[in-house]
Symmetry: C4
Subunit: 510 residues, 4 copies
């Protein structure tokens, strides 16, 4: 009765917990059930939950940074920033910083969105770096934003040329406006944050996120270099003595498309160190620009290769480990002239180990605190151990003690777990798979029976301390719980009541 | 008597096992004896053995994917795919997608083989990814194939031009056919699978398999880029303003061979970033193609270097470890001014450790489940321990207990294992090599005797708890089994009968 | 009373130590309080402290190499060396080794500073490599300097041309002077030392220090190669058949600026393997130079990439580990169909582990010697344990014993640390965070109370050996000290007086 | 008496060992004392020593491969092989395979040396790969050589042209002779063996040996490619349509020097992917050669970079580890607000750990077998422990037991090892350094005394089980032997006589 009551407790606890988990994931209440999709959110404020209770007091208009809709907005802003970063150098170089037609309208729309984002930021909660808690207080949010990024954000959004036009009544081309435009590159930090977040999100492949980031950086730099190099040629007094003028004499009359493609072509030819030489520096200024660009590319190329190496190493690690394990095992087997049956078992086990990752679960368990481990064992093995005839009816505490001390093992097929006439040893509970009972009568082996889930074996020998009377051999891949003889005895000594029950169960069964 | 009977049991068990192992390797019965050649097969279905019994029921015409003949067929298909992937871009670029003579026939033959492969796939068992079992049921095979790769496989095999010819009665050159030909590249997944399998097969060097894979990828891409770049020049209206036309004015009249080599030459000059500049982009379209090709090459080069770094690191790991170990040992030795004899021993042991890999076997044993370890110890050391005079006649259980608790050690030559007058300590059994018994009479050492395989030493001291009366020094490299004094005592206490026998053996021997 | 007296002892010890720490940091007495700024100093003579007492005897004019002012002087010298290394090849190549105007004066000033540095070195203490002690004895300093670097230092500082002018009365251009100038490059070892020191200083990012070093090396080599290549062209008899003469016919009449930029442009085009081909070798001598330069660059590029790879691997290591951990945990959770609540706990814990690095402190503690560990535990946990009601009034020794045996654990919010009706187990002391006492009455959970800092729980069960009567669940992230039941009993057995006190405390509290 | 007698035993054993060590290093008796110089020799036959006794029987004319003079000969042969590998492609390409003057003579001399080497090989012992023993039997050496490398060695040495001249009476230029010359490249395996041996020899820096190997491979390939490319141009019918003919119209009339330098210049320009474009392929044959050369270079460059990365990673590993340790420690220290004195101790200890590598000796000891460890402890610590007053006169066995159970620890200066009023704990023996005895009388600390080498402290408390009466603080860096209280008691219990003696010593001393 005790057991059943506690059972319901446990389920009650679970439902209570799943109810309270709404506050755990995020303060916005958007994610009701916990799943992997929300992991990237959880990742940010695992300790923020205690604050979720005070959420109700705070401003309803404050948005959590983990809110799905805000995440969408952020992704949209990243796209706008990418557009903005691409269009600015292009306009400066090829349009004398005076965009026309569609581009001018697009620029204005983007600027409006950025202005909206600045306003929105005053309503987005943040995670305090010291306490790791979500701050939803309007005043603290405002203070923090004003004292950090606000000025730069505003400066990068003001349409200086528009203001100048309003003030002066005319559009003026000028170095000043181009330089003020540089402030827009400040927005790129949003892209960096975006990629940093994606890299930590296990839903996306690290390899491809990292590649995307590197490609984005490379493309942006190639674009900037191309635009700047064209600008140098465009402004140079003697237009025939420029890199593009030497090949296309009247390049300013050529279409925008041809000029842009030529710039990018040169830029990427240099970046990848191909250097055909069809377009090359003609005057001192271009040489100086080239020197810095090539030096910079040396670093960038090294950085790209370094990253790729890192990704390749990570990607092939598992195959390497598998090969090394198998090689070590087969060397061992050959060197020691083990019998074929043992060879098979060893190699099959090593293969199995890399296929079934669950065999590595011990390593994970070691990292978790004891109370979580206990819960896991209870969830995974208690249902089985409870149904084993030997432990039927014993107190829940004793069952828990036994469960937390068992060790799960995966055994490949056709392997002897216990050999007839061996000394008494560990007790095994079958979790899954099938085990054959084999008796060797001096001449040949007879299969005496078969064991399945929730059966136990080795207990006769362990309790009576006699040699094993049967061989137990796995028929299929089996998951067994191993319980050391000593542990079983310890538990029985510490719980006299349960011990009597176990012995009674044992005798009744024989 | 008991021992001999069990001995025959053990051999009986082995023969039974080797008989049943035919079903373990693969269901087709092709591989009767287990050896390393079959490891790559074993790797796939280590858990499939339980199903091999139901094999007899299933369709005889179903082929196992692990069957040797099917493996040959697969390798042959990989060669055809390689041919097909090479010839398609070539035909499109240089022959207006209308192959002539030998090539046309070859293409048809290859297509027929692919059609055969599609039919064959309906008869090939597969490994269910969830249960890891071999599925040999015709209906499930058919359903799985139809619902996954069938459509693409068929689409990549249909001879569109042939059908068009049958329908229209004439061969038409056209973009459509070229694009439909792209479907043939779908077949490349077979090559990928092939290399992935080779990489996991320890019969082949990982270094060379990986290199071959990278070279294959590189060559294919170089070939594709070359063909595509030629296609651009070929279709460009103004033929003098193309990369090849600028160098060879009437390039369309040149031989196929010269045009192909020029394309590949340009392709590889760009890929390797040599970029001589003798062939370079002349118009906007070529520049755009170049831009993408160079960007792509940047990634590919980084990937190649990353892979090579990975292989080099793996390849030199052992030498590195050896050097670090020896350096640490020699630093230690120098710093502490150890006597020359001890210096020799330490350095010889460290060298030995890296030569004789068997010294690292402990690490492997730790990974295996206990029941396999016990079998290994039994196989390797029981024959020796059984013959040691001290343990003659004791029960098999006691012998097994002792065997599983010994620790094998390799000792370099000329080393003192036990020193005269030292306190009683561990007991050693000689597995191989020779050990000298040395007595120091106060002035000089006298060799009192020699011990060989199956001899034991240190037992006098361990059992009687007196200081050692002799020094035991290895003459050659010796493999010894170390048995802790405490373990010996434990075993003796737990088995009173065997303990009496051991003591009797001991007294008789003295 | 005993406790308070010892408490004051402890504080006394601390003040005494902080007083004596002046001698520990450096002998010069410049750094009175220990902080991270001084770590780079400490790094050098951790063992030099014992000598600081004899400092008073030694020459007051001897400067410690760790003195802040001397460090400034060294950094200043590094800047001068950098200037000197840049200007020497420039002068030889472009000015026939006869600097004019500002450069000549600057060279003289720099030489004077180097002369001052040579004199100063006689007054700088050094660290004996054998004893790791700071040697402040003037005679030993003098002897060491004279026998090692003195001659080279002097040789690299003598103004040979100036002396020749004084002797011969005229300035002569000559190969000899240029070659003697090579001696100045000897000074570069100062730059190497500077970077090596920076790399070990954790105040600076390893990534940027390493990058700076590599950039410095690259720039210096590019500069040297450019100058040398110009020199080859300048001295070549047929000036039209030189790399620069082929492009700029009368290059000697061009401005210095154009010639220098062209040299550097060529140098860097070759170094980065861009190789446009606009400037290339024209005669045999230039080809030979090119061959060696390109070979050298191959090595340098590989070295740069190798370094970058190393830095990237190091930089992304933590993210990789985080991803692998989380992935393993989420695989484990999915495979075993754990209940959602348990899933949350496990993933939250793994996230927490990587956010809160303090969870890894165990690893650091393991490296420290036992006496330091004891001090740390005493400092961190004694104030808490002392205030726990159960241990109030017990002897300091017993408290210390308990403290050194507790294990700190971080538990994420909403986790059951102890579950109602479980067997008696460990005792927990709350260091920070909040823990709820929950009672499940068969139907629903009731919160019975809340525990905070310095509260203890689990002790009822542990001392009376009955099942737990309540569930203890964390409300917020909590830091708990876990004390094993067995440890508590051991301590109580070894200290009967304290044991009685503990029992009394316990009973009084119930 | 017993001790002294054993002492002489020990020294006797050492002298006997050093006498017998002559047979251990190598059979030739060339290296009498063991030192690091001989390590590279030892590395090869650590197990060969047992055979050295049978050396006297074997042929005196058989040379050991480890003999110093044979090593010199081998190095000399490597130089000859290098010359031979350089000169062969050169002669084929630039001299129509007909060397003149000095080169012809040099070739003949080299061939004679190779012939001598072939004869010599019949007299060089070899190491059997299976038994790892040195085989000195003439017949087995002959059989092995004849059945493996003999034919190739002879084939690579025969002067085919000389024989043809003797037979035909005239020198004929011919493809056949050039191809037969290819056999000479077989000798390169000697170079490979040479470098492989150097890489394992810790006397040489791995970085530089590896670099030298890579440079050698690169140079050889550059030379071969250059020669082969020239050969292609030289044999091409239309000499103006060759890579060199396009630049130097009558290149065959140019001096050898100019042609060779041009070839190497082209070769290295392509290899390093600089690709200026001044020399580039002009006909189809050259393009094909170029394609393969560039593909090959891609692999070679990746291999070079991979190796360099590996070396860089290895080279900076220690600095990285140091930085990570220090950073972890300083983070820990800051986070936990430890008092300044404790901060100092922790950081000083971490620094110390990386300076004094001896602190890592534990790791080495763990790898060695128990018997060697015991010898090391005996050598290092027994002289100290024997002189400690507490253990004076106790039996050698007891001393050995104590010694093998102590743990050496390095303690930085100014640290409290034992604190007054703490519970009884471990016993420490001072090996080096100084320790102060400090008494705190409630107000201030008084230095009561100083301990030096061979003093023991903590024993009063440990034996009488009272709290410590003094604080023991290190004055200088001290090496202490830590002996656990429990271990001391165990030893005393197992040796009642020695226990009585220890207690008597203790009481006498108080």
């Amino acid at each position: 009765m005790k057991i059943s009551s506690i059972k319901s407790t446990s389920s009650g606890g679970t439902s209570a917990a799943s109810g309270s988990s709404t506050g755990f994931g995020s303060g916005s209440g958007a994610s009701r059930s916990f799943n992997l999709r929300n992991l990237s959110k959880l990742m940010l404020p695992p300790l923020g939950s205690s604050l979720s209770q005070s959420t109700s007091d705070s401003d309803k208009r404050v948005v959590s940074p983990l809110d799905s809709r805000y995440r969408c907005w952020e992704t949209f802003m990243v796209i706008l920033v990418a557009y903005s970063a691409w269009v600015y150098p292009f306009e400066v170089a090829f349009m004398d910083a005076r965009p026309k037609g569609g581009l001018e309208v697009a620029d204005m729309v983007v600027d409006i969105f950025f202005a909206v984002d600045i306003v929105l930021t005053f309503f987005v909660a943040y995670i305090d770096s010291r306490t790791q808690l979500l701050v939803r207080d309007r005043r603290r949010i405002t203070f923090r934003y004003l004292s950090t990024f606000f000025i730069m954000d505003v400066a990068s959004t003001i349409p200086y040329q528009g203001i100048a036009y309003l003030v002066n009544g005319e559009v003026r081309e000028g170095m000043v406006y181009s330089l003020l435009g540089l402030l827009r590159l400040w927005r790129l930090r949003k892209v960096k944050q975006f990629f940093t977040r994606l890299e930590k999100d296990i839903r996306f492949s690290y390899f491809w996120v990292r590649c995307a980031r590197l490609i984005a950086v490379t493309l942006f730099l190639v674009h900037c270099a191309g635009c700047l190099y064209y600008l140098l040629a465009d402004r140079y007094p003697d237009r025939d003595k420029t890199w593009i003028g030497a090949v296309i004499p009247n390049f300013r009359q050529e279409s925008l498309w041809i000029r842009y493609i030529s710039s990018i072509y040169w830029s990427i030819t240099t970046m990848t160190t191909v250097g055909y030489g069809d377009l090359h520096a003609q005057n001192n200024l271009e040489m100086i620009f080239n020197i810095f660009y090539m030096l910079f590319n040396l670093g960038l190329t090294a950085y790209l290769i370094g990253n790729m190496t890192n990704l390749v190493v990570e990607g092939t690690r598992r195959t390497m480990e598998f090969r090394n394990s198998i090689r070590a095992a087969s060397n061992f087997v050959c060197r020691n002239h083990l019998p074929p049956r043992l060879q098979q078992q060893i190699l099959a086990y090593m293969c199995l180990k890399f296929r079934a990752e669950s065999l590595n679960q011990q390593q994970l368990m070691d990292q978790l605190p004891k109370s979580i481990c206990k819960s896991i064992c209870e969830h995974l093995f208690l249902p089985v151990v409870k149904e084993v005839y030997l432990f039927k009816g014993i107190s829940r505490e004793a069952q828990l003690l036994l469960v937390t001390k068992t060790k799960p093992e995966y055994i490949p097929p056709k392997e002897d777990v216990i050999v007839q006439n061996e000394a008494a040893d560990d007790v095994y509970v079958v979790v899954s798979g099938e085990v054959e009972i084999i008796y060797f009568n001096g001449e040949r082996e007879e299969v005496m029976g078969k064991l399945g889930t929730m059966d136990i074996f080795g207990e006769v020998s362990a309790l009576s301390d006699r040699p094993q009377t049967f061989t137990f051999r796995t028929r299929t891949l089996s998951q067994l719980l191993r319980l050391k003889q000593a542990t079983l005895r310890e538990v029985m000594q510490s719980k006299p009541d349960d011990s009597a029950l176990i012995v009674r169960n044992f005798l009744k069964h024989q």
